[in-house]
Amino acid sequence: MIRSAKGSAVSRPRKGLTLTALAAAALLALAACSGGGAPPSQPEGQQGGGGGDSGYTIAMVTHEAPGDTFWDKIRAGAEQAAKDTGAELKYSANPQVGEQATLIQNAIDSKVDAIATTLYSDALAGSVKNAQAAKIPVVGFNTGISVYQDMGALMYFGSDEDLAGQTAGKRISDAGAKHALCVIQEEGSLALEARCAGVKKSLANTENIQVNGRDVSAVTSSLQAKLSQDKSIDYIVTLGAPIALAALQSIDQSGSAAKLVTFDLNTDAAQAIKDGKIEFSIDQQPYVQGYMAVTSLYLYLKNGNDIGGGKAVLTGPSFVDKSNIDVILPFAQNNTR
C-alpha cells in the first residue's frame, strides 16, 4: 500500500508535466484567430453628447430580475437620456415589491429631483405618496398602466399588455391559428398573465403553460413535452426573446409544425425573424420606455411639460416582422431595440 502510494507520488508530477506541456502546445496551436468573433472595436463617436449639465438627479427604480436582456435595454435608454439631458441617473432594482418600495424610499431620503419607477403593484402606492409629500415628481413606466393615475404618478410610458396580447392574438388568428400555447416564464407576474389573457381574448383556444425561465434546458424540455402531449397546438406565443429561442429548439426537436411568435426582441430573436423562424415579435420598445421616463422628468423639471395629454403614452405594441426587420436588426444588435 505505502509503497504503491509512494511510487505513484513520484511518477505523477512527471506525467503531469508532460500532460501540461502537451495541453499548452495544443492550446497554442488552437490560439490562432477564429472567425465569427467580436468585430474590431469601433470608436465611440456616435453616442450623442447631449445637453450638457442640467444638474438634475433622477432616480430610476424597477422590478428588474437580474440578468434579463429586456431590462438591460430599459436601462440603456435611461442612461442615454440622462447623458442627453445632462442629468445624473441613479438606477436601482429589486424584483420583490417590498424591497422596491424601500428603494423608492431611499431615493426620497437622498433628496433626488425626480423619480421614475415601474408601478408593479399597489403595494408601491405608499412610497409614491411619500414622494409627492416630499414634492418629488414621479412618473411611471413599463408596468402599471391602469393604476398610475390613482397612485399619483404624473405620466406613464409603456405598453398596454392586454392590448398587445389581443393584437398578437388577432394577428395569429387571422393567419389561421386554431390552438395557441402561451408560455409564461415567471410565476405570478401580472404583466405576463395580462398578455396571455389578451391573446385568449382574440383566440379563445389559447392555453397557458408555466416554465422555469431561469433554466433554458428545462424550458425546452417542458415545451417539448407539451408539444407532444397536445399535437393540435399550431402556434406558440412566448413572452420574452430568450424563451422564444429555447422554444425554437423544442419545436425542432419535437417535430412539431407549430409556428412561433414572441414578445420582445434581442439580437438572436431579431436574426431568427430575419431567417423566418419566428413569425413576428410584439415589441414594447423598452429603450423608449427608459429614455422617455427620464426625458419626461427632465422636461417637467426644466419646463413644466406634461406629455400624453393626461393619458398613458404607449410605446407598444409595435410589430417587428420580415417587412421591417432589415431596418430594425442593426438596432437590435446595438442593444437599443
Binding site: 495541453a23 495544443a26 492550446l27 488552437l30 490560439a31 490562432a32 484567430c33 477564429s34 472567425g35 465569427g36 468573433g37 467580436a38 430580475a65 437580474p66 440578468g67 434579463d68 436582456t69 431590462w71 438591460d72 409564461i184 410565476e187 397557458n208 403553460i209 408555466q210 422555469n212 431561469r214 433554466d215 433554458v216 434546458s217 428545462a218 424540455s221 417542458s222 417539448q224 413535452a225 407539451k226 407532444s228 402531449q229 397536445d230 430568450p242 429561442l245 429555447a246 429548439q249 426537436q253 419535437s254 434581442n266 439580437t267 438572436d268 436574426q271 442593444n335
Partner: protein
C-alpha cells in the same frame, strides 16, 4: 456482508430457507437506492396511467434529457454530500463556466477549445477554493459556498455587462471549434424515431463511474469515512482534506460540463441563468436516499432522484394539469417520493431487527 454473518450455520430446514430469502431481501432493502427505485417505479406507473402522452418512447427520452441536465451535477453533489459537505454554488458555476468560454473566445477571436479548457481550469479553481476554504477555516460549507454563490452570481452579471455591454453572451455558432465542441457536449441522435441527447449518455457514464468509485475503490471508502466521522477518519489515516477538496472539485467539473452543454446547445447564455438549480441538485441527492448529515448514500440513488424530479416535472405537463398549480403538484409528488423512500427504508430496518 451482514448476510454472511447473520446466516446461522445449522438451523432447522424450513427455517433455513426462510431466513436465507429474508437475508436476501434485507441485503436488497439495505441499499440506499432501493427506496428511490421503488418511488421511481410507483411514480412512473402513476403517470403512465394518468398521462397518455407520456406513453411514448419519445416522451421518455425527453424525460431522460431533463433528468440528465440535473443528474450530471447532482451525482457529484451526491458524492459531496456523502462526504459530509454542501455546495450551493454549483448552479451558477455552470453559467459562469459557459459565460467564460463564450466571452473569452468571442472577444479575443480565439478557437472555442481554448476557452473551454481555460473555463475548465477556472471552474476547478473555484471548486478548489470552496474546498480549501472549508477545510482550512472549518466554516460550514453551506456558508462558504453560499458566499461563492453570491460572488459568482454578481460576477456573472457584472462581468458580462462590462465585457459585452449586454447581459447575455454573443452568439458563438460561427466560431472555430464550435462543431466539435457541440458534438461532444450537445449532439443528439435519432434512434428509431426517438431523439436521444448525448447528455443522457454522459450522465449514465458519470453515474456508473461515481458508483464504481464509491462502492469499489479506496477513495469511495474514504468518502464514506470522511462524511461519517471526519475525526476518526483522520485518525485512521484518511487524507480528509484532500478528499474534501477533491469532492468540491468534482462538483465544479460537473458544473463546468453542464455549462458547456448549455452554451453549445443554445449558442448564447444569459448571465442570470442557473440560480435555483443548486437546490435541484441537493433535492435529487436527498430524494435518492443521500443523508443530509453525510456518510450515507449512493450514486445510483442520486441518479434515480434526478430521474424522479425530471419525470415529475415533465409528466405534470404530459398529464395536462392546470399549470397554475404546477409547483403544488411538484411538491406533492416529491413528498410522495420521499415518503415511499422512507417507508422502504423503515421496512428494511425493522426486518433486520426482527
Amino acid at each position: 456482508m451482514s448476510q454472511t454473518v447473520k446466516t446461522p450455520p445449522t438451523p432447522a430446514p424450513s427455517e433455513a430457507s426462510n431466513r436465507v430469502s429474508l437475508g436476501l431481501s434485507n441485503r436488497l432493502l439495505a441499499r440506499p437506492e432501493i427506496g428511490a427505485l421503488v418511488a421511481a417505479i410507483v411514480i412512473f406507473i402513476f403517470f403512465l396511467i394518468v398521462a397518455p402522452a407520456f406513453r411514448s418512447p419519445g416522451s421518455f427520452a425527453t424525460v431522460l434529457y431533463q433528468a440528465s441536465t440535473i443528474g450530471i451535477v447532482a451525482v457529484a453533489v451526491g458524492l459531496l454530500m456523502v462526504g459530509g459537505e454542501f455546495d450551493l454554488s454549483a448552479g451558477v458555476l455552470a453559467t459562469s463556466a459557459g459565460l467564460f468560454n463564450a466571452m473569452f473566445c468571442y472577444q479575443l477571436g480565439l478557437n472555442l477549445w481554448v476557452g473551454a479548457v481555460l473555463s475548465l481550469i477556472f471552474a476547478l479553481a473555484v471548486g478548489f477554493f470552496n474546498g480549501y476554504m472549508v477545510v482550512r477555516t472549518g466554516i460550514p460549507s453551506f456558508l462558504i459556498t453560499l458566499g461563492t454563490f453570491f460572488i459568482l452570481q454578481g460576477a456573472n452579471l457584472g462581468l458580462t455587462k462590462l465585457i459585452t455591454g449586454a447581459v447575455s453572451t454573443p452568439n458563438i455558432n460561427r466560431m472555430d471549434g464550435y462543431s466539435s465542441l457541440k458534438a461532444i457536449f450537445s449532439s443528439a441522435w435519432e434512434v428509431g424515431g426517438i431523439r436521444l441527447e448525448i447528455t443522457v449518455l454522459w450522465w449514465i457514464i458519470f453515474v456508473i463511474l461515481a458508483a464504481w468509485i464509491l462502492q469499489r475503490t479506496k477513495i469511495g471508502n474514504w468518502i464514506f469515512a470522511v462524511g461519517g466521522n471526519a475525526d476518526s477518519a483522520r485518525a485512521v489515516g484518511v487524507p480528509v482534506r484532500k478528499v474534501k477538496i477533491g469532492l468540491f472539485m468534482t462538483v465544479a467539473f460537473m458544473a463546468w460540463f453542464v455549462g458547456m452543454h448549455l452554451l453549445y446547445k443554445f449558442d448564447t447564455l444569459q448571465a442570470g441563468l442557473g440560480v435555483g438549480n443548486e437546490f435541484l441538485y441537493i433535492i435529487a441527492a436527498v430524494v435518492g436516499g443521500t443523508l443530509l448529515t453525510g456518510g450515507f448514500g449512493n450514486a445510483i440513488g442520486v441518479a434515480l432522484g434526478a430521474f424522479i424530479f425530471g419525470m415529475t416535472n415533465l409528466c405534470i405537463v404530459y398529464a395536462g394539469w392546470d399549470p397554475n398549480w404546477f409547483r403544488a403538484f411538484l411538491g406533492v409528488m416529491l413528498l410522495l417520493a420521499v415518503m415511499v423512500n422512507m417507508y422502504i427504508k423503515k421496512l428494511s430496518t425493522t426486518r433486520k431487527v426482527g
